[in-house]
């Protein structure tokens, strides 16, 4: 049977992708960011999953205002890096896992999550920057990826509670898949940042670090935090952090297993407008 082995959390700042793609990764400004992922790249090589279930949000790229799905699961065989206005990122195509994706879709819909099934979509920096941070610049990504897009652009976005429960449902779905696969769930976006209006540039270190603490030790409590707290404390785009609760909900401790091991934790300000946060949690019964 398939099983979830770890969850990974990381910001997905577009400027990080741009720095890599334009050869600026060696500059001191960016070195401070990439240094936080040195451990992670090594860890991913050692703990290489068979599939990554990657939770992210589309930034008005694949989804315009014509159709805004709350939750969309990518069931295609491949996904192209999107042209977000300055040409597609020069990174590998994303290879999907249609069988597992379809299985998760079926299982999760039957657990009363009203997914939108997507068979064709380009993926933007929300998905490709975490892959770059965790894998560097390989000629191909190390394993298939299932893109799972969450609406955090138009209010109301799904609640923290809904996201945590969705993670639990994804775990059940993965565990009922009839093949011996190691699956990681990644939650991306955040941490505190605001890209709009006179308050742009907002950063809240205390909020961010408390969020990381609670994500590790008190996810059920954290899931009760209302949207307004994210917006007020972490900036209008800080709301992306609700997506981390999907990955957290997929960990075994919420289904009765022992708490996960914290393998890595990193926090840095700034990358462009954003506070970068990163966490790796491993199932302790690995």
């Amino acid at each position: 049977m398939a099983r979830i082995t770890a969850s990974v959390y990381t910001s997905h700042v577009p400027a990080i992708g741009a720095a890599l793609d334009t050869g600026k990764a060696g500059e001191p400004y960016w070195q401070k960011v990439f240094a936080g992922y040195e451990f992670s790249k090594q860890w991913l090589r050692e703990q290489r999953p068979d599939v990554v279930f990657l939770v992210y949000n589309d930034h008005a790229t694949a989804f315009s205002l014509e159709m805004i799905p709350t939750f969309a699961i990518g069931c295609a065989a491949q996904f192209k890096p999107a042209d977000e206005g300055w040409g597609p990122r020069p990174v590998p195509e994303v290879i999907g896992h249609p069988e597992l994706a379809a299985h998760v879709a079926q299982s999760v819909i039957q657990q009363d999550f009203d997914l939108t099934i997507v068979n064709r979509m380009d993926v933007d920096h929300g998905l490709t920057v975490p892959l770059s941070l965790m894998c560097g610049q390989p000629p191909a990504w190390p394993c298939p990826v299932i893109p799972f897009a969450v609406n955090v652009v138009q209010y109301p976005v799904p609640s923290g509670r809904r996201c945590l429960n969705l993670g639990k449902a994804i775990r059940k779905a993965v565990e009922s898949f009839d093949a011996d696969l190691k699956v990681q769930v990644w939650g991306t976006g955040g941490m505190s940042h605001q890209l709009q209006g006179p308050r742009a540039g907002l950063i809240n270190r205390e909020f961010d670090n408390a969020f990381l603490d609670r994500l590790i030790a008190d996810p059920e409590g954290l899931a009760a935090m209302p949207h307004i707290d994210y917006v007020r404390e972490a900036g209008s785009e800080g709301i992306e952090l609700v997506m981390w609760l999907i990955a957290r909900g997929a960990m075994g401790d919420l289904a009765g297993a022992p708490p996960p091991k914290v393998r890595h934790r990193f926090y840095h300000v700034p990358a462009s407008n954003t506070a970068v946060g990163h966490l790796i949690l491993e199932e302790s019964n690995q």
């Binding site: 315009s64 206005g85 138009q154």
Partner: protein
């Protein structure tokens, strides 16, 4: 409007909700069109003519021409859509965000390197600020 909006007292912040989305529909869809290289070329060649192809309000068109992103947001624009204008102009997200704060590009960048805009004094409209920012 009957939508519950607990976020109206957050200073310098416009939440992109259904009302904003309706107001800004054509403005945002215009922005989206700039994701195609041939449209970027056409827009740059004659901005006014390109804008006139869209059922946007005159105010929205003026705000785009002036690159007044705060005004665009007021008129229903969303930052992820407006970012396509920035990309067309060759601006980074940091330059775009900074342009809405009234700060110079340099001052904004320095603020970010120094740890960003503090939360103290920025939680609620009318809140006393411990320092100027």
């Amino acid at each position: 409007m009957p939508l519950d909006k607990p976020y109206l007292d957050v200073p310098g912040t416009t939440i992109f909700d259904a009302d904003q989305s309706r107001k800004g529909y054509h403005l945002n869809q215009f922005c989206m069109s700039l994701m195609k290289a041939e449209n970027r070329v056409r827009f740059k060649a004659n901005e006014r003519a390109y804008l006139d192809e869209w059922p946007m309000t005159e105010e929205q068109k003026q705000a785009v021409l002036a690159r007044d992103l705060n005004r665009c947001i007021q008129l229903g624009g969303n930052i992820y859509f407006l970012a396509k204008i920035g990309a067309t102009d060759g601006k980074s997200f940091q330059q775009m965000a900074g342009s809405m704060t009234g700060m110079s590009e340099e001052a904004y960048r320095d603020m970010m390197i120094a740890g960003g805009r503090p939360i103290e004094g920025n939680r609620r409209i009318g809140e006393k600020k411990p320092e100027k920012n």
